[in-house]
């Protein structure tokens, strides 16, 4: 599913990287620790986090993630938005808390990473 459709279905608001919403979302990863995301998130996945500072953009850009969703109504800082536009990294915001948002992403058919490892 494309990021654009995900955004529409879950009523996410786009804060940056509006030009890259056609990208295909291949999975999801949730974490607030940069090192965890750097080590474990996979290319093309959506990253769900509470962190709103500018470094999330560098992490997402380096890992070539599909985008970042800030939960609980958190807004990205101004420089985060600027960097997101510069690096073409979509940042979206949701009013929902992480657990609920991730549940809805799953219902849309977006798998979490490591789902294969369970042999499902």
């Amino acid at each position: 599913m494309r990021l654009k459709e995900v955004a529409k279905k879950l009523e996410l608001e786009v804060r940056s990287g509006a030009g890259r919403l056609e990208a295909e979302v291949r999975g999801g990863y949730a974490s607030d620790l940069m090192s965890d995301v750097i080590a474990n998130a996979e290319e093309g996945c959506l990253w769900v986090t509470l962190q709103s500072h500018v470094n999330i953009v560098a992490v997402a850009a380096m890992k070539e993630l599909a985008g970042i969703i800030l939960v609980n109504g958190r807004e990205p800082q101004e420089e985060t938005v600027a960097k997101g536009d510069e690096k073409n990294v979509p940042i979206l915001v949701s009013r929902l808390p992480a657990f609920e948002l991730i549940g809805r992403l799953h219902r849309l058919g977006i798998p979490g990473q490591g789902a294969d490892a369970e042999g499902s």
Binding site: A39, Q51, N55
Partner: protein, 314 residues
């Protein structure tokens, strides 16, 4: 949908039917008839173009479909000449051009049709026709492109160094890290990643080098005044040295324990300093050497083989 099949080629096709759009494989060159066309003319149109049916179009809008079957029904009822619109099927299943191929596959399957008209979602105009043959052709074409890209990649990976003639080949990259500028964190790793990709190194090797460099870069930014990264790429090994003038590490053994951190609160609040950096680096590298003098600085040396060795990060 769950992809349970372990056959990579099959999974690839499953991926493609979700990825590809109807517009990418449909036939655009259409033979259509106006609703006012006579049934007697239709016979010639179907025969001359060797088709078994055609869309009926008025002002670019699809108004029906007429097929050989409709023609036969009309003939058995006496075959009195009349406009196509009196015989055609008006209830037509359609697809939008921007729908994924999987929708076309399931609709063709569900209704048992040989073809489906494709409409533009915005204008509703008829823009194409899709058949099972189009879908198969589209998939094969895409697989071929993928295969081709992989071949090119392999070529670049294996030949960049082979094409250079010398007794010893080394490619060097040097970067400067400004300490304390946390908002610039990741730039060196990003630049290095892009450069290594261009060298055509294996994606897994690039990934591991990028992760290790990112973590080392963040360490310099958080704990030191400034630092430098020297990367030395040889055909079989990438060596990375990160040297800083900073506070140094009192107990190196403790520092590489997962979860151990001396990061200040403000750094932790940003999601850094969780004691995962050095363990991440260690997991990505084959050779790992950390030397530090308190008050002077730290030097990290790591080696990552380029042979695509199966060692997973973290």
């Amino acid at each position: 949908m769950k992809l349970e099949n372990k056959n990579p080629q099959f999974t690839k096709i499953q991926e493609l039917v979700y990825e590809l759009k109807v517009t990418g494989v449909m036939t655009r060159d259409l033979i259509t008839v106006p609703p006012t066309a006579k049934m007697s003319e239709l016979r010639t149109i179907l025969r001359d173009n060797r088709i078994s049916g055609t869309p009926v179009v008025k002002d670019e809008q699809l108004v029906g479909l007429i097929s050989v079957e409709d023609l036969l029904t009309w003939l058995t009822r006496g075959g009195t000449d009349c406009p196509v619109e009196q015989v055609m099927s008006r209830k037509v299943h359609t697809l939008y051009a921007d729908e994924p191929l999987v929708h076309a596959v399931s609709k063709l399957e569900e209704f048992g049709y040989g073809r489906l008209p494709v409409l533009d979602r915005r204008t509703g105009a008829l823009v194409g026709l899709i058949t099972k043959g189009d879908i198969i052709e589209g998939l094969l074409h895409e697989l071929q492109i993928d295969y081709h890209e992989e071949e090119i990649h392999r070529y670049r990976a294996s030949h960049f160094f082979e094409d250079m003639i010398a007794d010893k080949i080394t490619v060097n990259f040097h970067y400067h890290i400004h300490g304390k500028k946390i908002e610039q964190g990741g730039e060196v790793a990003s630049d290095l990643k892009r450069s290594l990709k261009r060298l055509g190194l294996h994606p897994d090797v690039v990934r591991r080098t990028a992760i290790a460099t990112y973590e080392a870069e963040m360490n310099v930014i958080i704990y030191a005044e400034e630092g430098r990264v020297d990367v030395n790429v040889e055909p079989d090994l990438i060596r990375i040295e990160v040297r800083d003038r900073g506070q140094g590490i009192a107990d190196v053994g403790q520092a590489i324990e997962p979860g151990y951190s001396t990061a200040p609160d403000w750094v932790r609040e940003l999601g850094f300093g969780a004691g995962m950096g050095l363990p991440n680096i260690k997991n990505c590298a084959r050779d790992f050497d950390l030397a530090s003098t308190v008050g002077r600085g730290t030097t990290l040396r790591i080696g990552i083989p380029t042979g695509g060795e199966e060692k997973r990060c973290a």
